[in-house]
Each structure stands twice: as structure tokens, then as C-alpha cells.
């Protein structure tokens, strides 16, 4: 048994109160750092996911919808709503120079009433032309969606095979989509024809107002990509100039507000993590300086027994490293236990897209948090370690006699 090699471990285990205080500081620092890393990643992934889900250069909606910020309501806030325009607008948009592939979507909001299973956003897409929803749906359901078949977002409480009722019309859930961390998780997707049937059912109940438009020939929005080489802003401007009653919104600008808020939140999270990391390092440095001072005689005793300065420094640093590693891992694990189950609540509270990374990535962030904890604490303690290893042995023995 090599007592000297085990000394750092014994110092930690046999002085639980002393080590506990140091561990607690490391746990707090690692918890904050890990949570910040995970939040940053989740928000970043949520934003990317939202951009992918929008998946088009330009979104053309009724001008009225844009004024009422109904688009943002669906895309960003998750409030079920609807707006309509005549499907003839598709032809007009297609005629605009620079417009490439186009597809239409039809929206319907269900109700929190006896006629509907739940209040959700229903999104109808055209399977023949869709390039936004279909690839995503295909990853969960390989076949074409049949009549009255729907695919539920990950946030909808329904499984494949379940029936959902909208305006007293039953629909079969054929698949559930993977989580996106966006409000699309609380939507139900169906072919345009299915949504049109549901729309007729809603009209039958005197719901969903169409005013002057023919419910059989309405669409909610046109999603389009511009032709290669075409300028997205210029194409959007041309649509706004040449097609009456519509608003062409660049999807990036639709997300710009969210992106700005996201940057602000990320900045705050990162700043808080840096503050905790720096404070933690300072507290650990002070705590270790005090502890090293208190144990000066013990270190001097080791020196008279033949321990070199280098060995002494290595031993103390090993002790600090063990505390940072154990405390760091515990803090990060605690962060994982808190952050992952409450991510939904956090998403709701922040009102931002948020997609938690997979477990492998979570463990990578855990390793990162532990490393940052080590990297913050070790250099902060180096001065005290260097000082005690350089101290005159005879002085240390005399001082504490």
C-alpha cells in the first residue's frame, strides 16, 4: 500500500467537512456552466430546427394576416389561428419573375370544445408540391397520407392508431413526428384535402370565417423558394408590388425578432455562466489558499520526510483536481437531471424554440462543464500551491509550532 500516493484521496475522504465545502462550490460552478452550455445548445438547435421547418425563402400570406401578426402567432407563439386567401393567388405568385418552386398550405384551428379532441393548429399541405412538411413527415411515416389521415407533432397527446376528432369529424393518427423544439410540435399535419374536409365541417358549425372567399378554393399561405441566382428580397418586393392583397415575408425576417431575443437570452445565460465560473474560481482559490495555509505544517512534515517541491505541488493539485472532477461531474449531472425534465417548462417560459441535444451530446457538454470547472479552478489555485511548495520548511515548522 503506497500511503503517499493515496494521501490526496485520504485527505478528501477523511476530512469530509473540509472536502464537502470545496465539493459544494465545484458542484454549483459545474451546475451553472453545464446548464448554460445545455441551454445555449438547446436554444441554438431550436432555432435551427425552426429555420428548417420554415424551409422556404419566402412565405406569402394574406396582407391582413401579416398586419395581425397571425403568421408569427402560428410559427413562433403556437397560438392556433387561421387566415385565408383565394387559391388564384398561387398563379399570380408563380408568374412573378424569380419565383422557383412553390407549394401551398391550408390552416385550420380546432377548438377546446366538445366537437374537437384538443385545441391545436391543423396544417394542410399539398403532397404533390410540398417541399417543407413532406420530407419531415416522411422521416416518421414513409407512405403518402390518405384521406382523413393525420400526423401528430411530438407535443400532441396521441399515438399512431389513435383517433382525433376535429369538428365532429374523426381522423386517424398514422404517425407521430420527431421533436423539433418549436411550436410545430403542437400542430397536426394532414393532406390539403383532409384539412379542406375539416374546414367544411367547421363551416357547418358556423366556425372559421371566410367572408368573400370560396371555402373550396382557399389557401392560407404560399411557400416558395426563389430561382437559383435570384435575390430573395427583390423577389419578395416584386410579389408585394404585383400581387394584390398579399404580403411576401422573407422567412429569415420572420425569425429575426426571435433570433434577436435568442441572442439576448444566450448572451445573458453565457454571461451568468462566466460570472459563476469566475466567482467559483475566486472562491475556490481563496478557500484553497486558506486550507493550504492551515495545512502548512503538514506539508512541511512531508518535505522533511523527503517529498520534493514538485511532488508536493503535484499532490496538492491532485487533491484539487479530484474535488473539481467529482464536484464538476456531480454538478453537471445535477444540471442534466434538472434541465432535461424541465426543458418543456423552460421553453414555455422563454417562449422560444428549444430542442434538447441527444444524450451523447449531453454527456459531451457534461465533460465540457467538468473541464471548464477544472480549467477555472486549477490556475486560480496555482499561486497558493506554488507558494507553499517554495516555503522554507524550517519557517513552516516554526510558524505552526
Amino acid at each position: 500500500m503506497n500511503v503517499f500516493k493515496k494521501l490526496p484521496l485520504y485527505s478528501l475522504v477523511r476530512r469530509p467537512a473540509r472536502s464537502g465545502a470545496m465539493l459544494a462550490i465545484s458542484v454549483i460552478v459545474a451546475f451553472a456552466v453545464f446548464s448554460a452550455l445545455l441551454m445555449s445548445a438547446a436554444l441554438g438547435r431550436g432555432m435551427t430546427s425552426l429555420q428548417q421547418r420554415l424551409g422556404a425563402d419566402i412565405m406569402v400570406v394574406p396582407a391582413e394576416a401579416e398586419k395581425k401578426a397571425a403568421v408569427e402567432s402560428i410559427v413562433l407563439q403556437g397560438n392556433p389561428t387561421y387566415f385565408y386567401m383565394d387559391e388564384a393567388k398561387l398563379g399570380e405568385v408563380n408568374a412573378v419573375e424569380g419565383v422557383g418552386e412553390t407549394t401551398v398550405q391550408l390552416y385550420l384551428a380546432s377548438l377546446a370544445a366538445s366537437c374537437c379532441s384538443a385545441k391545436v393548429q391543423l396544417m394542410g399541405f399539398d403532397p404533390a408540391t410540398d417541399f417543407v412538411i413532406k420530407p419531415w413527415v416522411s422521416s416518421s411515416y414513409g407512405k403518402e397520407l390518405g384521406e382523413m389521415e393525420v400526423v401528430a407533432g411530438s407535443g400532441i397527446t396521441a399515438s399512431a392508431g389513435d383517433r382525433l376528432i376535429f369538428y365532429d369529424t374523426p381522423c386517424t393518427v398514422v404517425a407521430k413526428l420527431s421533436e423539433t423544439g418549436t411550436n410545430y410540435d403542437r400542430c397536426v399535419f394532414a393532406g390539403e384535402d383532409t384539412v379542406r374536409v375539416l374546414t367544411q365541417s367547421a363551416i357547418g358549425k358556423n366556425l372559421n370565417q371566410f367572408r368573400d372567399t370560396d371555402p373550396d378554393h382557399v389557401i392560407s399561405c404560399i411557400l416558395l423558394n426563389v430561382e437559383e441566382g435570384a435575390d430573395i428580397d427583390q423577389v419578395a418586393s416584386k410579389i408585394n408590388e404585383s400581387v394584390d392583397g398579399v404580403a411576401a415575408i422573407r422567412t429569415r425576417s420572420l425569425l429575426s425578432g426571435t433570433a434577436r431575443s435568442l441572442e439576448g437570452v444566450l448572451g445573458m445565460i453565457r454571461a451568468a455562466a462566466v460570472v459563476v465560473l469566475v466567482l467559483g474560481a475566486v472562491i475556490l482559490a481563496i478557500a484553497y489558499a486558506m486550507q493550504i495555509q492551515e495545512r502548512k505544517r503538514e506539508f512541511a512534515t512531508l518535505r522533511i520526510l523527503g517529498v520534493s517541491r514538485k511532488q508536493l505541488s503535484a499532490g496538492i493539485l491532485k487533491e484539487i483536481a479530484v474535488v473539481c472532477l467529482v464536484g464538476g461531474a456531480a454538478g453537471a449531472l445535477l444540471g442534466m437531471l434538472v434541465m432535461i425534465p424541465f426543458s418543456g417548462a423552460l421553453q414555455g417560459w422563454l417562449n422560444m424554440p428549444m430542442l434538447m441535444p441527444g444524450i451523447v451530446h449531453c454527456f459531451l457538454y457534461l465533460a465540457g462543464a467538468v473541464f471548464l470547472c477544472l480549467a477555472g479552478a486549477m490556475p486560480a489555485c496555482l499561486w497558493s500551491v506554488w507558494k507553499v511548495s517554495r516555503a522554507e520548511i524550517s519557517d513552516s515548522l516554526r510558524e505552526e509550532k
Binding site: M1, N2, L7, R14, R297, L305, L397, R398
Partner: protein, 220 residues
């Protein structure tokens, strides 16, 4: 093997003034003798012992053992040399508080990396010090006398050439004083050099060579 200290001088800075505590001290320590160094408080006894045992570089002069000049070595080499050749009993409590008595005694062997049979030897030494029943006790639970005996056992662990003891009997009752001095005397008789710094008058009864320090000079 003998330890030679030649022209040792040492000065301290105290209140901004240089204080010369040792002046041209020359000394040879040989195996088989118990050396006693006495003097009033602050006379430089502990300073001289620290210089001799390789833990305080003198302001002037050399300390050598055979062909080895102590303070010309790098710290790692000097530390190894100190651990291999010297058994040091510092003044007061010197146990590592997070190790048991047995582990404290084994520590010098562990530091040198020669752990084989260390536990057995440590138990024998504790038995010799009559504290074998305290092997698994933490040092904080020991009395002053028991702590001192533990420190003696630890100093003997690597069978050193020279034992340095700084006030090994301070704060001890008559029985413990007698026991500690007797052990040190036995070590000297067995061929080791034993260098004891002490206020204790009784040390004179055990010492083969007695020194006194007055005004920085060593007197025999």
C-alpha cells in the same frame, strides 16, 4: 558516514535589520554518538539543526556527507537524500492528520517508493515505541508523548544514518521523557548518529558530545 558542517554562517532579516544567528560554525557528526545541542531560546539551535538536516540553506558555509554537498543539489535530489539518510523529528506535532498512526510511520517508505514490508516494519517500530495498540488510531487522538513516540518511529522507518530531533521531550512527563531519550540513546549505540536539540537538562545524562550555542558560536 559523517556529516561535516564547515564555516556555517546564517543571518535573518528581522524588522529590516540583519540578525547574524550563526557565526563560523564548524561541526562533524559521526555515527555511534548522541550529540546534544543546548542553548537559550533564540540562540540558533533549531536554525543550526535545520541547516544540518538539509531543510534550510545557510547564508554561508557548506554541509556535506561523504562526497555529497547538500545545498549544491537540486531540490528533488536533496529531498531524496534527506529522506534516505536523515530521520527528522521536528518540534511539536508533526503528524499528517488524515493518516492513521501506522500510515504516518509508513509514510517515509511510501515516499521513497519502497513499500514492500513497510507495514511490517512500521508495526515493529510502533511495538518498540510501545504504542502498537494505537496503530489504527488517528493522530489527533494521541497524547503529546504518544505523538512524539510516533514521530520517533517514523524517523527510524528508513533506517537513517543520522537522526535529528528538535526538542523531542518538550511538554512530556518524566516517564515519556525517559522513554524517548532511552530510544534515541539505543539508536546511537546501534551505530547511528543522533543529534538532539534540547532545553532539557536530562539530555546531558544521555549525550556523548554536548554543544552549547552562545552569540552564534558553537561551544563544546
Amino acid at each position: 558516514m559523517e556529516l561535516r558542517a564547515e564555516h556555517i554562517c546564517h543571518t535573518f532579516l528581522q524588522g529590516g535589520q540583519r540578525l547574524e544567528v550563526l557565526k563560523e560554525v564548524n561541526l562533524t557528526i559521526q555515527g555511534g554518538y548522541l550529540y546534544a545541542l543546548q542553548g537559550r531560546s533564540g540562540s540558533g539551535k533549531t536554525t543550526l539543526m535545520s541547516i544540518l538536516c538539509g531543510i534550510l540553506a545557510p547564508s554561508g558555509g557548506t554541509v556535506s556527507m561523504g562526497d555529497t554537498v547538500l545545498y549544491s543539489m537540486k531540490d528533488s535530489a536533496l529531498s531524496r537524500f534527506r529522506g534516505a539518510h536523515f530521520g527528522i523529528i521536528p518540534q511539536g506535532q508533526s503528524a499528517v492528520s488524515t493518516l492513521t498512526v501506522l500510515e504516518n510511520v509508513m509514510l517515509p517508505a511510501s515516499i521513497s517508493g519502497s513499500c514492500g514490508g513497510a507495514a511490517q516494519r512500521a508495526r515493529e517500530l510502533l511495538d518498540r515505541m510501545q504504542i502498537s495498540d494505537l496503530a489504527d488510531v488517528m493522530p489527533g487522538e494521541l497524547s503529546g508523548g504518544e505523538q512524539r513516540r510516533m514521530a520517533v518511529a517514523r524517523a527510524l522507518m528508513r533506517d537513517p544514518d543520522i537522526i535529528f530531533a528538535d526538542e523531542p521531550t518538550s511538554d512530556l512527563d518524566a516517564g515519556n521523557t525517559e522513554a524517548v531519550l532511552q530510544i534515541l540513546k539505543e539508536e546511537a549505540k546501534s551505530g547511528k548518529a543522533v543529534f538532539v536539540v534540547s532545553h532539557e537538562d536530562r539530555i546531558s545524562e544521555y549525550a556523548d558530545v554536548k554543544y552549547d550555542i552562545k552569540e552564534g558560536r558553537l561551544l563544546q
